[in-house]
């Protein structure tokens, strides 16, 4: 069953300058992004910094108001919903952030951090019930009940990220947007958190929108992938198919750029020139053409459409 449907989503940020804050440009952070997410499924969003993946995640949970397009959650359009109506829907979708340090209030105990959402949605009748719920949540994410008394600074990065997960789980959502949940963690701890997310998904039937820049991590947790470049989806499909046979030159480069640790695998490194252009002035035609080794004349003028090249596998490239 479709849990979340995003249709032609656009998020633009005006750039203002001068004494009168005149709008001098538009950052097109997300352009015409569409996807569906079923309950219990994980959709991975991958791309480099500035590609719009975080903005997409925030627009989905309505921390941002999209400029155009629709976000439909369980058949209900939440794109322009406001106030109490939006707050009540927020029980169904939560978000967890990259920086476990910055996203937890240092002056609240873990019990209050996790329990705040329970109060807000009036899910517990009294303090005793709240304490019991929080302890149960802490156990579920691999912390001890007595940790409820402590403050965020008393925990390691991995433990803080567990607190972030417990907070997201508190209201029993159906969807959690995970924005770079492991990129601030050490490798050995990163694996713990990824495994924990997977276990929780199986126990509770959660859906994840898993946003990260590390293709290997994203591929590991996701069934399907969305590869973004300069605000647009350039390739999408089954995670395995996209990684093993990438069709878009950007995805291909992304795959070869992952430094391998296994001595056997030969690094066929594709060193591509340049960097991602500014989203303020994206190149005409295909946004990737200035860096693409195969670019032709029409790539410079014509925007490639996202078209299906195999069942479920879509690519935005004239040459694919």
């Amino acid at each position: 069953m479709t849990l979340l449907e995003v249709r032609q989503l656009q998020v633009h940020f005006p750039v203002r300058r001068g004494r009168f804050q005149r709008v001098i440009g538009l950052v097109r952070a997300v352009e015409e992004v569409s996807f569906e997410l079923a309950s219990g499924e994980t959709l991975g969003v991958v791309g480099e910094s500035g590609c719009g993946k975080t903005t997409l995640g925030r627009a989905v949970v309505r921390l941002l108001k999209p400029t155009a397009g629709q976000v439909v959650f369980e058949g209900e359009d939440i794109t322009v919903m406001e106030g109490a109506a939006l707050r009540s829907r927020r029980r169904q979708f939560q978000i967890m952030f990259q920086d476990p340090q910055g996203s937890l209030d240092p002056r609240l105990t873990v019990e209050d951090v996790v329990g705040e959402a329970l109060d807000l949605h009036r899910l517990v009748p009294n303090r005793g019930a709240r304490r019991a719920r929080v302890e149960g949540l802490l156990k579920a994410v691999g912390l001890r009940p007595e940790h409820a008394w402590r403050y965020p600074h008393e925990f390691s990065g991995g433990q803080r990220q567990r607190i972030g997960i417990a907070r997201a789980l508190a209201v029993e959502p159906k969807l959690i947007v995970c924005d770079e949940p492991v990129s601030a963690l050490d490798v050995s701890v990163q694996a713990q958190i990824v495994n924990l997310l997977r276990d929780l998904q199986q126990e509770r039937g959660l859906a994840y929108l898993f946003i990260a820049h590390d293709l290997a991590v994203v591929e590991h947790v996701s069934r399907r992938l969305l590869v973004m470049y300069l605000g647009r989806v350039v390739e999408t499909g089954e995670a395995r198919a996209v990684v093993q046979a990438p069709k878009h030159p950007y995805t291909q480069a992304l795959v070869t750029a992952v430094p391998a640790v296994d001595a056997g695998s030969n690094p066929k490194r594709w060193l591509w020139p340049g960097e991602m252009p500014s989203p303020l002035s994206p190149p005409a035609g295909c946004a990737f053409h200035p860096r693409c080794p195969r670019a032709e004349a029409r790539c410079r003028t014509e925007l490639p459409a996202l078209r299906e090249i195999a069942p479920g596998h879509r690519v935005a490239c004239h040459l694919a």
Binding site: E48, G157, V189, V243, V261, D262, P267, W272
Partner: protein, 332 residues
């Protein structure tokens, strides 16, 4: 004689009884033209080790109870401030992880590079030399970019400026502390390639700090893996990645997610990295080790040469592997 020799280096922070040992008996050398990686997770002491090479850790609060650092024959821990100024930049140059915070935000990048030149090669402190350096590190249109402020450059370009500044004085050793960690994967590849080229061109030695074993594989000749202030394994990079011997190195390698691997779970290391100076007694890795034996919690293992050129701090390094490396972490 190696260009850099660190012998039994020990570093503590704090005073009196409130001391925290951040590095404990690190011995490491870097020969001319060699690339050595210091690998490990946060808090393992790799950055303070690297900073100690030019004595960039302020003393106090830091304090070296024992150990020696020989850089180009000079005993770094005994040098005066004036002598230190002579070697900083000229013998050893640094590139840091966050170029945005290492560059001066209110000076044009060209001026910052020129400043480095004025200190170390006053005769070459010209605009032409600045432009040559910027071109060398692969910055397009260097004449224009030299007049830019750091914030107008992207992260990758800022890191190139940092590298230009570090090589301006033509150091014999370049210490790069996580030079690619703040960058996107595609830029990471570019910067590693640049470091490799520069090393070739100037016969520099490179001491590279990283938490990423993939980076080790890309560039290193030898690698030292650190855990809780100690080197736990030292080996040629290729051999180490092919056949890691220390349980920590093995687990660390397993924990890296592989592209296209279809394993349903990632192999994790239970528990967390111990805090600085808070290593458990005995072997510091034993609470998280899947191979731990009864005496690991009491016996302090020595870093011993087990094969030519391979040092391991584990008496049980040649025991057969348990079936599963480790289970999912449950709480501490």
């Amino acid at each position: 004689m190696p260009l850099l020799e660190i012998k039994d280096l020990t570093l503590e922070f704090g005073v009196g009884t409130e001391r925290t040992r951040a590095i404990d008996g690190v011995t490491l050398s870097v020969s001319a033209g060699e690339v050595v990686c210091l690998a490990g997770e946060s808090g393992c002491g790799k950055t303070v080790t690297a900073l100690s090479v030019a004595r960039l850790v302020p003393t106090p609060p830091a304090y070296y109870p024992r150990g020696q650092i020989l850089l180009d024959g000079l005993e770094v821990l005994r040098l005066s401030r004036r002598e230190l100024r002579q070697i900083r930049g000229r013998v050893v140059g640094y590139v840091f992880q966050e170029p945005a915070s290492a560059l001066n935000p209110v000076r044009r990048v060209g001026a910052q590079i020129q400043e480095s030149l004025r200190w170390h090669r006053p005769e070459a402190a010209t605009e032409a030399e600045v432009i040559r350096l910027l071109r060398l590190v692969g910055i397009p249109a260097p004449e224009v970019r030299a007049r830019d402020y750091p914030h107008t450059l992207s992260g990758g370009m800022q890191q190139r400026v940092m590298i230009a500044m570090a090589i301006a004085a033509q150091p014999r050793l370049l210490v790069a502390d996580e030079p690619t960690t703040a960058l996107d994967v595609t830029l990471q590849a570019q910067i590693l390639e640049l470091l490799r080229e520069l090393k070739q061109q100037f016969q520099m030695s490179l001491l590279l700090i990283t938490h990423h074993l993939g980076v080790v594989r890309e560039i290193a000749d030898r690698v030292a893996v650190m855990y809780a202030g100690q080197i736990v394994e030292l080996a040629p990079a290729r051999a180490l990645l092919q056949r890691p011997l220390h349980p920590y190195t093995r687990a660390l390698k397993e924990a890296v997610p592989r592209l296209g691997a279809s394993a349903p779970r990632l192999t994790s290391i239970p528990g967390a990295v111990p805090g600085v100076g808070a290593g458990p007694p005995g072997c510091r890795f034993h609470p998280r080790c899947a191979w731990a034996q009864a005496d690991c919690s009491t016996r302090v293992p020595e870093l011993a040469e087990v094969e030519p050129g391979r040092l391991v701090r584990c008496p049980y390094w040649n025991r057969p592997l348990p079936e599963r490396l480790s289970q999912v972490a449950r709480p501490l």
